[in-house]
Symmetry: C2
Subunit: 219 residues, 2 copies
């Protein structure tokens, strides 16, 4: 049997040459790296198999650790799913906040947000957001999931409104435009294949160029 040259858990934080003990900062960083490795591996597996068929045994096996190691970081599979979708929604929110407060016309800022959003939808955490049914989350997580999605929707709507006000976006039905943009972008998670001819950036660029048509006065 062939073993991969580098396996996930061979990674070690560099030791301080003056002391073989890790500093609290290094320990915190290492813990965070482990947590994220669990999430990335789980997200990929959820997308491959579907949430209910995916098992933490397999997540552990892929990381070459035992299941109790995973339970040091997460209470259960539901919490892992929620943290996966929260990662993607957090990334989108970050881009939305930057777009909201950045310089320039609202339309350009909205397009920058859409481009980042599209790329996130080609990645494992983003795919989790679209593939996860509300019913797969616990009630508390579901509430939080919806709250984050509403927050993103509100930021997109307010950018559209700003654009209508500064003249960079044509007058439109703001709610419907926000839903159309979100739908077209979210759908990328359903059809995009990393094995396809186009890179995530190419898909994002082409999709956002096309969606400009929703923001522009008709010829």
């Amino acid at each position: 049997m062939l073993y991969p040259l580098v396996s996930v858990n061979t990674y070690r934080m560099p030791l301080d040459p003056r002391s073989p003990w890790r500093t609290p900062e290094q320990r915190a960083e290492e813990r965070e790296a482990k947590r994220e490795a669990v999430l990335r591996t789980a997200a990929r597996l959820f997308n491959e198999r579907g949430f209910s068929a995916a098992s933490l045994d397999e997540v552990a096996a892929r990381l070459k650790v035992t299941k109790p190691i995973i339970y040091r970081h997460f209470a259960n599979k539901d919490q892992i799913l929620f943290e996966c979708v929260r990662m993607a929604l957090g990334q989108i929110l970050e881009a939305a906040a930057a777009a909201k407060t950045g310089p320039g016309k609202a339309r350009d800022r909205l397009m920058a947000l859409m481009t980042r959003y599209a790329v996130i939808m080609t990645e494992d955490f983003g795919m989790c957001v679209v593939r996860t049914g509300d019913h797969e989350l616990s009630e508390a997580s579901r509430k939080e999931f919806r709250k984050l999605k509403r927050k993103i929707d509100r930021l997109i709507r307010s950018l559209i409104q700003e654009g209508v006000a500064d003249g960079s976006i044509a007058r439109c039905d703001v709610k419907m435009t926000s839903f159309a943009i979100a739908g077209a972008l979210n759908w990328i998670a359903k059809w995009y294949s990393p094995d396809g001819a186009e890179s995530a950036e190419e898909v994002a660029g082409a999709m956002v160029a096309l969606l400009q048509g929703l923001l522009t006065r008709r010829a």
Copy 2:
């Protein structure tokens, strides 16, 4: 306890006044009506609870029949789910075929198709299509599910190409435009609420008017 004035299974096919026995045609029609009642009830339940949490016991209870009655029509829950998504995809395909062969400019025919598609997405079978993960279907059903979706995608792409050729649709990235339209329309199934202020027809009208922006030369 209050009972509804009309419950689903009080419906009886009208008997021929000349004979109390049903004709073969009436029996076939009755069988079809029963089959569809199971599908409608199941689709609603899948959308409310999620597929894995929904039980055929509850479908039977809502129809005021026993579970064996349901098994006269369907082999199992997976088959029921597949038939639900097939209903919606069949409706979309029907509209797509009509749009493909109808008279007039391709753009108008595409818009008629999009309007019908949008309305289907506000209904229980349409919602099932968007909410159903590939992993929830058996392998054979999943193949068929994908085949039907590809068929719809091909018809939409060919309508877009026709429109570019007859001058009614602006030159565009056909694949990306088809995916953007499908995404925006499919997403309706995620956000539309029948309890909201807008009817399905109003939502469809507003969404399709907006999506015209994807088909039009820029100002």
